[in-house]
Subunit: 252 residues, 2 copies
Amino acid sequence: MPTETHENPAPETIERVVREGQLDGAIVTCLAACEVEYDGRSGGYLGPGDRLVVAKPDGTLLVHRPSGHQPVNWMPGGATIKVEEDGGSALLYARRSNPNEYLRVYLHEPHLLTRFDADDTATYQERGTEAEMHEYIEQNPETAIEDGFRVVEHERESVYGYIDFFGKDAEGRPVVVEVKRRQATLNNVDQLKRYMGLYRESNPDVRGILVAPSASDRVQRALRDDGLEFVELSEFAVETRESSEKTLSDFL
Amino acid sequence: MPTETHENPAPETIERVVREGQLDGAIVTCLAACEVEYDGRSGGYLGPGDRLVVAKPDGTLLVHRPSGHQPVNWMPGGATIKVEEDGGSALLYARRSNPNEYLRVYLHEPHLLTRFDADDTATYQERGTEAEMHEYIEQNPETAIEDGFRVVEHERESVYGYIDFFGKDAEGRPVVVEVKRRQATLNNVDQLKRYMGLYRESNPDVRGILVAPSASDRVQRALRDDGLEFVELSEFAVETRESSEKTLSDFL
DNA sequence: GGTTACATGTCGCAT
DNA sequence: ATGCGACGTGTAACC
């Protein structure tokens, strides 16, 4: 049994289990009434309440409330986690530098402490990233962008940042392409405009294309107003994707 | 005791505890060897391994590996969580629409199942947000920005969104101020440029200032290239903030 | 370690 | 519901 549980653990038990867990590579969780205090890039205080506290062996510390996707407080991996005594109860204390931050969890009523010697070597396989879109464009430039388009350079570095694709159209005009995997935003238009600034001065003929599965009217209008273009790559839209209810075997 | 634990729970137990937890507002966690499958905005597959699975009563489902701040897979709040039977073992199934997504967690070896009737009504109190920086600028415009600067309008609404500060300099020229609480990015430059576009047409004299604790050379150059300015507000840099090691009493 | 840009970002707010 | 910007964003890639 790779798990270990302690009901209503004493402060010394919490101290020992957390310390050993950090050393042995085990996940330690605590279901507890607690109070939380954070200071660093920002600062915050959370009054008493019941939460799930998770201490991972890489120094990650999470405090989860009964609702919400995100932890209300946390410390990213790399922090050092310790347990101190605070007036008869245990205090989880995580600290890191760069930036200098700390998180304190006062475990007023630790109901359940668990240790899990988790062994997890699998690598996560991901689909549908922007990288896949890039690959598709690189291998099907004419289908993806337009007839006669060819890629000259992928991920071109410039003074203003990285350009997704730099290419030429059928008539030899230079084309700057910015790719987004989600519906395009005004920020994305700005980003393309920023890159355009590099080329328009020396060559007013340069074209700029924003490639995305969709774009709002406002974005499409902003593009037109600046002489830029939008190419809809609907193959990568989420909505239109068949929700095929794959089963596990499809992934193997 | 607001917690309940089940060692090596049977699929029916998992089904019951998760279902009841969702109804009663309890956090249910499971330490288990599992396999995970996700499809929606992106897609992914994670082979067998030991993880911490958390089901919150608001529909949040989290799968945490032994390291890393973020869950490897998740479903945000609002999803419906169910447990199905899959060849003798339990399958946690979360689904939501808009966007259409699902997450499946095949609990091959559920070591420990816990239920926590968490009662958490405290509100999180935050300090050090961008709002504080705005307050500082509003109350110390000349120290923060430059001699003779005065705020005409805070959070001015424009066609393109809200401008942090609209003001006048010592010579009466209009000034658009964009405030960032972290090191400025190229995106922030873009944003300021977008706002500037509104005013430059009618008044080419208008100045644009990006205020942030720091900015890279490239960002400063991008600003200069567009006739914009950078003001370093180092008072709000995290590094220089004294890490004063407050205690709990300081917050009360 | 710094800079840059992506992310299943999530979250909150305003239309 | 959708659009838009902030976030203690985290995270990887590149230098």
